[in-house]
Each structure stands twice: as C-alpha cells, then as structure tokens.
Symmetry: C2
Subunit: 197 residues, 2 copies
C-alpha cells in the first residue's frame, strides 16, 4: 500500500488526540503527538517543556523577516523550524498520524496527505477535560476557551490562515457523535478517497 499521512488538528477537550491514537492503532501506522516534542527537544538541545510551550508563543515574524532579508533567528523560531523539519522527515519516511503542531500547514504540499479537524460543543469539552483528562481547573469552560485562543493564535500566525476554517481540511467533524464513531468516520473518508480498501 502507498504511504499516506493523516494530520489531526483539534479543539482542546474534543478527544482529537484519543481519536488520533486509536486511528493509528487500528490502521497499524505510527502515531506522533508528544513524541514530536521529545524528538524536537533531542534535536535542538532545548527542554521538552520549552518545546511544548512554543504553541503558546508566536514565533517572531519569521516569514516576513526572511523575505526582507533581516532574519535574525531566535530560539522560538529555531524550535518551530526544527519541529517543522522533523514533521516533514517523518512524513517522508512512513505512513503516520500526526496530531497538532500545524502539521496540516507544514505538509500542505504533500501527496496522499489528509487533514482532519475535530471539534465539539463547549459543554462537552469542559466535561471531558475534568472527567476524562483529569484536569483540575476552577472553570473548565473558560479553560477550554483559553486553549482554543492559544491554538488558534499560534495557527493563524504561522499559517496566515484560520484555525478551524473548513477549507483548510479534508474533513472537519463534531466529535459529539462519539470518539469511536469519529474514528470510524475518518476511516470511512480514507476508504472513499481510495487510500484504504
């Protein structure tokens, strides 16, 4: 079977990471989420905590300053570039599922690469982060909104597009039909597109 890549972007609490992991297991292909952080940390010599936090930071206006010839790399840009290169090298190597990290944008020119966005109503996400993820926060709904804000700011800045805009993805799914059902639907999509039998 030809190599194929699945990227999954997700609202916090939508179950996107769980869906990605389950999908990779069922398809028998590699899964990259936290692993990206560990690998990028190893490559750059930066700490995992620092790499983990780059999604919360806007890189400096990297593209603009590259264009203007005035680029002076800073440590956030360096971490972003290292991570983007890592994502490309993984996608070159093998079929895999990659969660988050603007992978849909980084791999936008890749063949046989399919992009999914998982979302869910706020009440459901607030419930999941406390009951399933075990997050201890005072106001769960406010916490997921804060995460959305961070992820969208980072994505919008890096890609100059909009996080959660339907046109950026092959399929976007409201996971409130259930995480197993959402996983099955992604497989249905891959079947209809001829990637899976």
């Amino acid at each position: 079977m030809k190599k194929y890549i699945v990227t999954i972007a997700r609202e916090h609490g939508s179950g996107g990471r769980i869906i990605g992991k389950k999908l990779a297991e069922e398809l028998g292909i590699a899964f990259y989420d936290r692993e990206l952080i560990t690998l990028t940390a190893k490559q750059t010599g930066l700490s995992e905590a620092f790499i983990n936090d780059i999604e919360d930071q806007k890189p400096s206006s990297l593209l603009y300053s590259l264009y203007m010839g005035t680029y002076i790399p800073n440590v956030y840009d360096e971490a972003y570039v290292a991570q983007a290169n890592l994502i490309r090298s993984l996608a070159d190597k093998e079929s895999c599922v990659i969660v988050g990290r603007c992978a849909d944008y980084i791999l936008r020119e890749y063949d046989n690469c399919f992009h999914f966005f998982i979302h869910a109503p706020i009440q459901e996400r607030a419930k999941r982060i406390t009951e399933e993820y075990g997050e201890q926060v005072k106001d769960p709904a406010a916490a997921v909104k804060k995460w959305d804000k961070k992820r969208s700011s980072y994505y919008n800045f890096v890609t100059q597009s909009q996080w959660g805009r339907a046109q950026n993805y092959n399929l976007t799914i409201d996971s409130s039909i259930g995480l197993d059902q959402t996983t099955a639907l992604i497989k249905d999509y891959l079947k209809h597109s001829g990637v899976l039998d």
Copy 2:
C-alpha cells in the same frame, strides 16, 4: 423511523446541490432548494427572481432594530422572515434535505437536525461551473470567488457567525474525493450518529 433534517451549505461549484439531491433520493426524503424560492414567492406575493436575490442583499439590521423597538419592516426582511418560517414549517412536517438559505442557523435549536458544509479547491469549482453547470463567464475562478463572497456576507450578517467555520456544522467535507463519495460519507455520518441503520 424518527424524523430527521439535513441541511447543506456549500461553496459555489462544490457540487453541494447535486450531493443534496442525490442524498435525498437515496434516503427517500424530501429535497428543498429552488422549491424554497417558489414557495416563499407564493406566500409573500413577491417574484421568484426577487426571493432568489435576497441572499445577495443584507437584510436591514433586523435583530438590532427589533431589540431597540425601532423595527420598520422592509421588503428584504419580510422575504427573509417568510423564508425562515417556511423552512421551520417544512422541518416540522417531514424528514428532508434543505440546501442553502442559512437553514443550519434557522434550525439550530432543532433536534435530530444535522448540518453539513461542502467545499472544494477553487480550480475544481471553476471547472465544474463551466463544464457541468454550463455557466458562461469570462473568469470562472473569479466568478466562484464572487459567489463565495456574497454567500458568506449574507450568512455572516444574518447569523453573526462565520460561513464555513467548522464549529457551525456536524461535518464539513472537501468534495474533491468525488460527489458520490461525499454523498456516501454523509450517509456514513448519519449511520454513525444512529439516525440511519
């Protein structure tokens, strides 16, 4: 089987109307697209051409002026309200597929109502409007962009949300996997959500 409603919003040239019609046929339920225009025209006494064009016009700031108690109905508002009431009465009556006309927003509080958004890359849409829809335009890519602009302005104004924002829909699909495949995927969704066997 319990009554269920499917709404389909679509980018011009994405094949959304064809998909909706095919879906309704395969499910054996009613299909409303142009029919909404004919029915609204009959109810209001306005011409079909006028009703057809309301999506190109922003209704006056209806909600705001209702709130302020300063509402003086104009003919666009009247047509919008008549059409919204018609959509609700159809959804009350029977299972159906409704294309366009902000039906997802109008029926947002309805049970067993599922919202889909169909999009496709611009080159594909430009090709479809000339080769399949037979539209004669100088610059097909510019023409579909102009339609997108009209539909999104109308939707964004009426709903105070964003047309094509993943979170407004149960599922958004890039129809470049094929119109039959996209139709099948919508049916897959309805199966996973327990609406269809």
